[in-house]
């Protein structure tokens, strides 16, 4: 235990050093977005700083392309070697906060067997959904019947929340995107 103490101290120091580094101007974490995940935990989007994120936006009642987005995220993660895989988190934020309650997200995560240690399904308030889609460059539009039209892309954020790569290839693997994840995970943080 005694030996561990200096290690803890070092980790604490490292942690505070990271927090003190100013956010790059092109980081999406400059946006204040309050996320609530499938377990009801609240977290600022910027709290995800420190690990690369594989993310997209979906809505759970979507029957067409959203299940394919989730499948593509899983497919992409599975294409990574285990060491790289362990370094990234998966995040899907809902376009549809009116219908995607915490309980709905939870239910969806369980049905789709999305391991909560890897996957965060999150909702945020409508104004923040629009802001988030703005920084991500995703388009969406609600139709009178409650469905959404939206662009479908997987986006890779580096550890500081900068968009490092994106792919619109949904339903099958994009090898270039997988390679981009490997590179981002491998790059030393400065």
């Amino acid at each position: 235990m005694k030996r561990l103490l200096p290690l803890f101290a070092m980790l604490l120091l490292l942690g505070s050093a990271r927090a003190a580094t100013p956010l790059p101007g092109d980081s999406i974490y400059n946006l204040k977005v309050q996320l609530t995940d499938q377990d009801g935990h609240q977290q600022l989007l910027s709290a995800r700083r420190g690990r690369p994120q594989l993310m997209s936006m979906i809505y759970t009642s979507c029957k067409m392309v959203c299940p394919m987005i989730i499948d593509s995220m899983r497919l992409t993660r599975n294409a990574l070697d285990p060491a790289t895989r362990a370094q990234i988190d998966l995040l899907a934020v809902s376009f549809d906060p009116a219908r995607d309650s915490v309980a709905t997200l939870k239910d969806y995560a369980e049905k789709r067997k999305l391991d909560p240690r890897i996957w965060t399904l999150a909702r945020t308030e409508p104004a923040q959904v629009r802001q988030l889609s703005g920084v991500l460059g995703l388009q969406y539009r609600q139709l009178p019947d409650g469905e959404f039209n939206h662009s479908s892309e997987l986006i890779l954020l580096d550890a500081d929340g900068r968009i490092a790569a994106r792919t619109a290839r949904i339903g099958k693997l994009d090898p270039e995107f997988v390679e981009a994840i490997r590179k981002v995970v491998a790059q030393p943080r400065g």
Partner: protein, 254 residues
């Protein structure tokens, strides 16, 4: 007694413009937008709302920047506003000769416009709200079939973009809304939602998936191309973009 009442009424009338000049109530209802609600032909349903009578001016935006320094042009995060953000101001907290106080503020990003509206307890109007308010002229709620209305909207395009912007204070439309089609274009809340594919199941070509929106939405009233051009313009922008002639106004719920 009667005199006092009259005085009180007079006082009220004098006081009203200062307060009520800010936002006016619009009834909303069914509205035949150039952009069908379902991507085919359905009219839009617009809930009653209030709209700022005038676009936000340089002076107003300067006051906002002073009280919200994170929106100074030298401090704003680059992901929220591009390089040209407020670049026509003399410096971060001075308008100078290139930006008169009563001119509409331009070179503001969608994020900045949204933050400003929030500071007024408001939001950006939706496209439908904007299009609905802009459909009126001085006497009619929907003047869009009148060639004179179209001519006015189109005349905007003939004004050289290098010409200095006039001050706001144009004639009010039937709702009391001023300067909505001139002299600047205005951000709307859902600017990035206007041309989205109504069916994104076609997975064969990723580029088609990404860009088929423009072809998938059927636009109504094709003769109304002055309005359609605005949609095309808004759809081409990213939320951090700023342009010489893009300003904004805010809206509130009823």
């Amino acid at each position: 007694m009667r005199n006092r009442l009259a005085l009180a009424l007079l006082g009220l009338m004098l006081a009203l413009p200062a307060v009520a000049a800010d936002y006016v109530a619009l009834p909303g209802g069914r509205f035949a937008s150039v952009l069908p609600a379902d991507g085919k032909a359905a009219p839009a349903q617009i809930a009653p709302f209030r709209l700022r009578t005038e676009p936000v001016t340089n002076a107003e935006f300067l006051a906002f920047v002073k009280s919200h320094p994170e929106w100074r042009r030298d401090r704003v995060a680059s992901i929220l506003a591009d390089q040209r953000y407020l670049s026509h101001w003399a410096d971060a907290e001075t308008l100078g000769s290139g930006a008169l106080p009563r001119q509409p503020v331009t070179r503001v990003s969608w994020f900045a416009a949204q933050a400003y509206c929030e500071s007024e307890g408001a939001r950006l109007p939706s496209w439908y709200e904007w299009e609905y308010a802009a459909a009126a002229d001085a006497t009619r709620r929907d003047a869009r079939s009148d060639p004179a209305w179209r001519e006015k909207l189109l005349s905007w395009y003939s004004r050289p973009s290098s010409a200095p912007l006039p001050d706001i204070g144009g004639a009010p439309n039937v709702y009391g809304v001023r300067d909505i089609t001139q002299p600047v274009w205005e951000w709307v809340d859902d600017f990035n939602a206007l041309l989205v594919a109504s069916d994104s199941r076609d997975q064969n070509d990723p580029d088609v998936l990404k860009f088929c929106g423009a072809g998938a939405v059927s636009l109504q009233e094709k003769e109304n191309y002055a309005v359609l051009m605005r949609i095309a313009m808004l759809s081409a922008l990213q939320a951090a973009d700023t342009t010489n002639n893009m300003g904004f106004r805010c809206a509130k719920p009823e």
